[in-house]
């Protein structure tokens, strides 16, 4: 029969092994409290516990390209309510991280925003709130960028007028070099798998 899901445990093993907090999903008993408490649930293609189900079923493609794994607002509601103490949020972050590493882009804007954010943290040790959006906007190309930029110009201006835009460019922290060493080490040591 068509669209029959074939169970394949290998992906589950992959997730347990390579995804941050991936092995926590073993404890899920499908109560649905995570989705029930998720602010962006209605925009997700799969509720979290179904993502876990798909992982168990071995549906690699569906999971890693699911927009659900990148719609997490990090509000922790699922984390505090899960009756099996599964850090659902961490699992979603882990999956998103893993998906990007594997070359999937579940959510374009969030992905580039997050990536730029981290790049800046890595480069400066701090975040430059006026520089970041610019980089994000332009990560999609020049024309895209200008559109997006203009789109948010009003907000930027208002912030500036109300002393809420640091005008001087953000300087690197003194210890940025050593910070980078630490982070590089962590990147190698931690889970999350090698880039595809």
């Amino acid at each position: 029969m068509e669209n029959m899901v074939n169970y394949d445990p290998s992906f589950a093993e992959e997730v347990f092994r390579d995804v941050d907090a991936g092995d926590e999903i073993k404890m899920c008993m499908n109560c649905g409290v995570c989705a029930g408490s998720c602010p962006l649930r209605e925009h997700m293609d799969y509720p979290p516990r179904q993502i876990f189900g798909l992982i168990r079923a071995g549906k690699r493609e569906e999971v890693l390209s699911s927009k659900a794994i990148m719609l997490c607002t990090s509000c922790y509601t699922c984390v505090v309510k899960c009756p099996r103490n599964i850090p659902v949020m961490d699992v979603m972050h882990g999956l998103a991280h893993y998906a990007l590493k594997q070359g999937y882009v579940p959510r374009k804007d969030t992905a580039s925003f997050g990536k730029e954010f981290w790049k800046q943290v890595y480069r400066l040790g701090r975040i430059d709130e006026k520089d970041l959006p610019r980089r994000v906007f332009f990560s999609g190309g020049l024309v895209e960028g200008i559109k997006a930029m203009l789109n948010f110009m009003d907000i930027g201006l208002r912030l500036m007028l109300h002393h809420r835009m640091k005008l001087l460019p953000e300087r690197k922290i003194k210890g940025v070099k050593s910070l980078q060493k630490m982070l590089d080490k962590a990147e190698g040591l931690g889970k999350g798998g090698a880039a595809a």
Binding site: M29, N30, C31, G32, V33, C34, A35, G36, S37, R41, E42, Y46, P47, R49, Q50, T77, V80, K81, P83, R84, N85
Partner: protein, 422 residues
């Protein structure tokens, strides 16, 4: 005061609920001396507050009455109400136990004529109905109370109201000078049958119990359905007394949840299934929705589940409800969750929500008592190496009446063995 002759051939049973009564009777009817202590002013325990048992939908008082009759005719059993264990020392075959009696302010002369209640104008929250209504501070705990004797609330002591009660009694049964008393027992074995308390539903704060009037617990539901309950058996909304048209049962409200009670409370599924029949019997048009994780209807109790499923007005949704908010204007409740069968979001309104709260065991909280092992949840563990004190019924595991009675009967034999070993 109470002068009770016992020996190391006697058995002490702590807790006068279904388990304790059973353990006491089974041992006594085999010829052993038994002392039964109960902290309430009446025997019967938690089941006296139930409307019906599953799956037969029969009244708990039916079986209790038989048990009380068994007690009445059996000189081998002596029982004390408003009594608690204050101290235990010694070892198997030879325990010294101190019993604390709280003052009832009514002595054995009470004929139950009710004069004290007639004159008393002070009212207190009715403990029998979980505070859902008021009762005179001079009261008979409930119609079937055994022993059939009134109680005066301590708040009457040293008041004019108290005096009024005293003067109203033609039989000199009111005694406001009564004080806490203790007496000692020597026994060979102890059966601990202190039963359970409902889990405090307020701890699961996102369900709003204690905050939203129309969110109640399963034990409160039993009182609402009971003809001798606060509403004389009418199941209505606490907020406005309206008849229920659309009710939700939330299973595992605290149970099977590592944030609250990690264990399964065993009886809540059947209790809620039973309560759906209360509602449906009363209101043929009422819709019922049961939110569950797994329905746990063991053995032939499955038949009851099947029966309830056949009622087209009862819907089962596999979902742990994630949040409840109240509509301040109507008192209705908005439930949020995920229907895990369809993956759809649940946003449903109900006019009454019943939380299937779980069981918390009443372990042995007696200073200096011989150590009795218990698990991380507080349930007593009967260790074959540590004999002499035996937990029975819901202090051992959350379980239904029939199983508690089986366990209590077993506990009686264990106690007899402790004595036989001497």
């Amino acid at each position: 005061m109470a002068d009770v002759q016992t020996t190391n051939q006697s058995i002490l049973v702590v807790g006068g609920g279904m388990s304790g009564i059973t353990a006491a009777l089974e041992a006594a009817e085999a010829g052993y001396d038994v002392v039964l202590v109960e902290k309430n002013p009446y025997l019967g325990g938690r089941v006296t507050q139930l409307y019906q048992y599953f799956p037969k939908l029969c009244p708990p008082n039916c079986g209790l009455e038989i048990n009380f009759r068994r007690m009445r005719q059996n000189p081998k059993i002596r029982f004390f109400t408003m009594a608690e264990v204050a101290g235990i020392s010694g070892q198997e075959g030879d325990y010294d136990v101190t019993i604390k009696l709280s003052p009832r302010y009514v002595n054995e002369k009470c004929t139950c004529c009710g004069k004290c209640a007639e004159v008393c104008e002070v009212e207190i929250d009715n403990p029998f109905n979980y505070g859902m209504d008021k009762i005179k501070a001079a009261y008979l705990p409930h119609e079937f109370a055994f022993p059939m004797r009134y109680v005066l609330d301590p708040c009457l002591v040293g008041t004019d109201e108290g005096k009024k009660c005293l003067e109203a009694c033609e039989y000199g049964a009111v005694d406001l000078d009564m004080e806490e008393a203790t007496f000692d027992l020597r026994v060979g074995a102890i059966v601990w049958a202190a039963g359970w308390d409902p889990y405090d539903a307020a701890k699961v704060d996102y369900y709003g119990y204690g905050e939203y009037e129309n969110v109640i617990t399963n034990v409160m539901m039993e009182r609402l359905a009971s003809p001798n309950g606060p509403t004389e058996g009418k199941i209505v909304r606490p907020s406005d007394g309206k008849e229920v048209k659309n009710i939700a049962f939330i299973q595992c409200a605290g149970s099977r949840d590592e944030n609250y009670l990690p264990y399964c409370s065993g009886i809540c599924c059947l209790a809620s299934l039973k309560q759906t029949t209360y509602v449906r019997e009363l209101y043929p048009d009422c819709d019922v929705t049961v939110f569950f994780i797994d329905i746990r209807a063991l053995d032939r109790l499955e038949d009851f589940y099947t029966k309830v499923q056949e009622d087209e007005k009862v819907t089962f949704i596999k979902s742990k409800i994630a949040n409840i908010t109240e509509d301040e204007d109507t008192g209705d409740l908005l439930l949020e969750g995920e229907n895990t069968r369809t993956g759809e979001q649940i946003l449903m309104n109900f006019d009454l929500v019943v939380l299937a709260t779980g069981m918390v065991p009443n372990g042995i909280q007696v200073d200096g008592a011989p150590e009795v092992p218990c698990d991380e949840y507080g349930f007593l563990v009967n260790d074959p190496e540590k004999t002499g004190i035996y937990g029975v019924g819901c202090v051992r595991r959350p379980t239904d009446v029939a199983s508690s009675v089986q366990d209590a009967t077993a506990g009686a034999l264990k106690a007899i063995q402790s004595i036989a070993r001497r």
